[in-house]
């Protein structure tokens, strides 16, 4: 039932993100001739969807009232009174958030290929899957980041701070690592998401880096959640 609850609480967000995906594709369809070289940079946009979506992984704090008001507690205490341990609450919400993110990334990639007939001739299905996997794993860092932020920030700040932090990290990485021939470039998961990867050129190092960053954040979030008092 926790799965059902997490889906009910995030489904509107999923629909909104889906609408954004469609909007981006439509805009690009109108203005940019998509080809093998630039399609990945379009897909990069989908990464940003992972951030708000992954707020589904934020645990029971998301149920606190939007603004703390005397006498208004949100459903947080009801959830905490259920005979469920806190980590399970966090896992379920995270899993639902990840599934939603994965679904949207996959749908975004599929729609891009479907929407641009020219692209279909240049990109194989395997390349599309490889790229979707790259975006998903490289976006896992954003998921971890927003999960840890959401464990100690109030609801109204979570998305904004996660987005700002990720954008800041992207700018810093770009500044430090602008040269694609730099030895550090292969760790750059932001760049990996903007590169047209194929099944034969998967950015494994960047993916591993993002997975490690995301996992570290997620483990920290688990620790915070376990020690948290409500």
């Amino acid at each position: 039932m926790l799965w059902y609850k997490a889906w009910r609480e995030t489904r509107l967000r999923v629909l909104l993100m889906f609408a954004v995906v469609i909007f981006i594709l439509f805009q690009v369809h109108q203005h940019v001739p998509l080809n093998r070289q630039n399609w990945a940079s379009l897909q990069l946009q989908f990464m940003w969807m992972i951030i708000p979506l992954s707020l589904a992984g934020s645990g029971v704090r998301a149920e606190a009232p939007f603004r703390p008001v005397k006498g208004l507690q949100g459903s947080m205490y009801f959830t905490l009174s259920l005979p469920v341990n806190r980590l399970r609450l966090l896992y379920v919400r995270s899993a639902v958030g990840l599934l939603e993110a994965a679904g949207l990334v996959a749908i975004g990639c599929c729609l891009a290929v479907l929407a641009f007939p020219g692209l279909r001739e240049q990109i194989t299905m395997a390349d599309g899957v490889a790229y979707a996997l790259t975006v998903f794993v490289c976006g896992f860092s954003a998921f971890g980041l927003s999960t840890i932020l959401a464990t100690f920030l109030d609801q109204q700040w979570q998305g904004m701070v996660a987005m700002a932090t990720y954008f800041f990290a992207r700018s810093v990485t770009f500044g430090l690592n602008g040269d694609p021939t730099s030895p550090l470039a292969r760790f750059d998961f932001f760049r990996a998401m903007g590169t047209a990867t194929t099944l034969h050129s998967m950015p494994w190092v960047a993916m591993a880096t993002s997975a490690a960053v995301g996992l570290a954040c997620y483990l920290a979030a688990m620790k915070v959640e376990l020690s948290r008092q409500y």
């Binding site: 208004l72 507690q73 949100g74 009801f78 259920l82 005979p83 409500y230």
Partner: protein, 302 residues
């Protein structure tokens, strides 16, 4: 095996250096209806949160059914045996009454369909209405239904009648008493409403500034406390030292009002020994006991 549903020893909890609980001791006998009284900020909700595993105490122990409430694994086991009505009564606003019942039921294997049907009917809860469309009173009733229907051995109710109209309050109180009598459920409820507590509780604890200041069987307390009114022919003789058991003395001209905490007979005898004094004694309500203790604590601190 202990016959205590809740046992709290020397519980302390501070928030930013301010003590919310200051060495609280509490014993709630299994099967009792226990009224937990105190002013706003006295520490009632903090105590309940510690019992529910939402807060950890700084010092002291809190045990429910003999299990440590501070241990995460025990806390899950404890919560599977507790029905809880939160202070805010907030449920998932996007679910209907029926959906939230279907959501809650799988967490509790001993869910009672007969009780569910009974309380749905009694509380007149519309199954297809969204929680967000229910009045505060209806939400309280729904939360009570969710707490009761899983055959909880202990009901913890934080201000359960807040937002209910007087008729609904009567219904709820009557059901709580019936539940305790029929199922042996222990009911632990915090409240400001002293008349409600007096109506159904058999045990009480008054908490002030994080400490229990009065605790025990309500009938015993009411028997122990008495108001003794002395009307004097002249002004009060100077330097009267009252015998032991006088909780407070108030004087208005020639009328002296004494609250006795035990030893009432000796106090009456002493009053009657004053020449020309007329002495009467009256039973004391819970409100008077509560106010007297809370005020005298505050005066002592000042």
């Amino acid at each position: 095996m202990s016959n205590l549903a809740i046992e709290v020893n020397g519980l302390r909890k501070s928030f930013k250096g301010k003590a919310a609980l200051d060495g609280l001791d509490l014993r709630v006998p299994a099967g009792s209806i226990f009224g937990f009284l105190g002013r706003n900020g006295a520490g009632k909700t903090t105590t309940i949160k510690v019992l529910m595993g939402m807060l950890r105490s700084d010092v002291g122990t809190a045990r429910v059914f003999g299990l440590d409430a501070g241990d995460p694994a025990s806390s899950v086991a404890i919560r599977s045996r507790i029905g809880f009505v939160t202070e805010g009564k907030d449920l998932y606003p996007y679910m209907t009454v029926e959906q939230i019942i279907r959501f809650t039921r799988p967490f509790f294997p001993k869910w009672r369909d007969d009780l569910e049907r009974r309380y749905l009917r009694m509380f007149d809860l519309p199954p297809n209405k969204k929680v967000s469309d229910l009045s505060k009173g209806m939400q309280s009733k729904l939360m009570l239904l969710l707490g009761i229907c899983h055959s909880a051995e202990l009901l913890i109710l934080d201000e359960p009648t807040d937002g209910l109209d007087p008729a609904a309050v009567e219904d709820v109180l009557r059901e709580l008493v019936a539940l305790a009598a029929a199922e042996g459920t222990t009911i632990f409820f915090s409240s400001h409403q002293l008349t409600e507590v007096e109506q159904i509780a058999d045990h009480i604890c008054i908490i002030n500034r994080g400490k229990a200041i009065v605790s025990g069987v309500l009938d015993d307390l009411k028997a122990r406390y008495q108001r003794i009114q002395v009307v004097l022919p002249d002004d009060m003789p100077a330097g009267v030292r009252w015998v032991e058991g006088v909780a407070s003395v108030r004087q208005d001209r020639r009328t002296v009002s004494i609250l006795a905490n035990g030893n009432a007979d000796a106090i009456v005898a002493q009053a009657e020994s004053i020449p020309g004094a007329t002495v009467e004694r009256f039973p004391v309500g819970l409100k008077e006991i509560f106010l007297e203790h809370v005020r005298s604590e505050d005066h002592a601190l000042v």
